[in-house]
Symmetry: C2
Subunit: 191 residues, 2 copies
């Protein structure tokens, strides 16, 4: 692809990320995206085909960024939950994208997300087998609950993200997530 064409696509993707994060898939307007990027809206159709396909491109980039942000570590699950929390707080627009995606395309899972999830489950299952992580719950349920804990205060959650969100409030939430992840995963003796 020529350099100019790459620049155009990059600008359109950046503008589209903002628009979709703000308004969702149905609510996004192709002409606002074109105006924000400073291009004619025909270029969106030329490069991406349709608004839905533009969302596909935006969302795949977002999922890659989310997957890269918090590397999974089965030996330090509280640390993993804390890293997820940090990423969500630092990237509210990506969290909004993920919420719209869940609401507007329920059940759709990207292959890259599925693959990453399978790798996490293998590592978690191994850590349970070695007795490093409590084995009272199956790995897929435990992993989902850890993610749920880390998302308690993320965008689109019923807890108002705007209340009590100064630096001290955010640090207290992070601490609570890390402590809770420890309590969920630390091996407990079974009778």
């Amino acid at each position: 692809m020529a350099r100019d064409s790459r620049t155009t696509k990059t600008s359109l993707l950046r503008a589209a990320t903002g628009e979709f994060a703000e308004h969702g898939i149905a609510g996004a307007r192709v002409d606002r995206i074109a105006a924000a990027a400073g291009y004619n809206k025909n270029l969106i159709y030329v490069h991406f085909g349709s608004k839905d396909q533009l969302f596909d491109a935006v969302y795949e980039d977002a999922v890659k960024e989310i997957l890269d942000a918090a590397p999974f570590d089965a030996d330090d699950l509280p640390g993993y939950a804390g890293a997820l929390f940090d990423f969500h707080i630092g990237h509210p627009h990506l969290m909004r994208l993920a919420r719209w995606h869940s609401l507007e395309r329920p059940g759709e899972v990207l292959p890259i997300a599925e693959k990453a999830n399978a790798a996490k489950l293998r590592a978690l299952s191994a850590a349970q087998g070695e007795g490093k992580v409590d084995a009272g719950l199956p790995p897929h349920l435990l992993l989902a609950l850890l993610v749920g804990l880390a998302m308690t205060w993320s965008e689109g959650s019923p807890e108002p993200a705007t209340a009590d969100d100064d630096a001290a409030g955010i640090a207290a939430r992070r601490h609570a997530v890390v402590v809770s992840a420890g309590r969920l995963t630390r091996p407990v003796p079974r009778s």
Copy 2:
């Protein structure tokens, strides 16, 4: 209000609940709501004023239903988390409403929700004071995390609600939520 007028409002609210749950606030169409209820759309403006005010009415009813569904019991927090889970699974359209509300009106909290939350926090704080609930985390953070756990598989969550959702899968998720709520709240000895 005359009986006919009450019937009209009830029918419009029911149709509006379905439409807003499916499409969100911006995506909802007043003419689809009128058509689904079998009334002229002018009646929506007569009774509710605007699409936004119609959403206000729908959402306040939904919040009341959610608050009534799972009575808070500081002496049985795993049971409370399980009841919340059951309600979410059984009322996916109300969960979708709550998610759209969070995304489209970030930071808005209804007074009835604020009041109910304050009562829960008082009860939780008292239970911590009596040593029935672990006091390692402040009550407002602990309560938010319990709700977050119970919502792990609810609508608009990144965990695909459609996978593994037969009766056995749902029972396993419920069990995982209840066990995890116990681990988060059971008093642990402090050194």
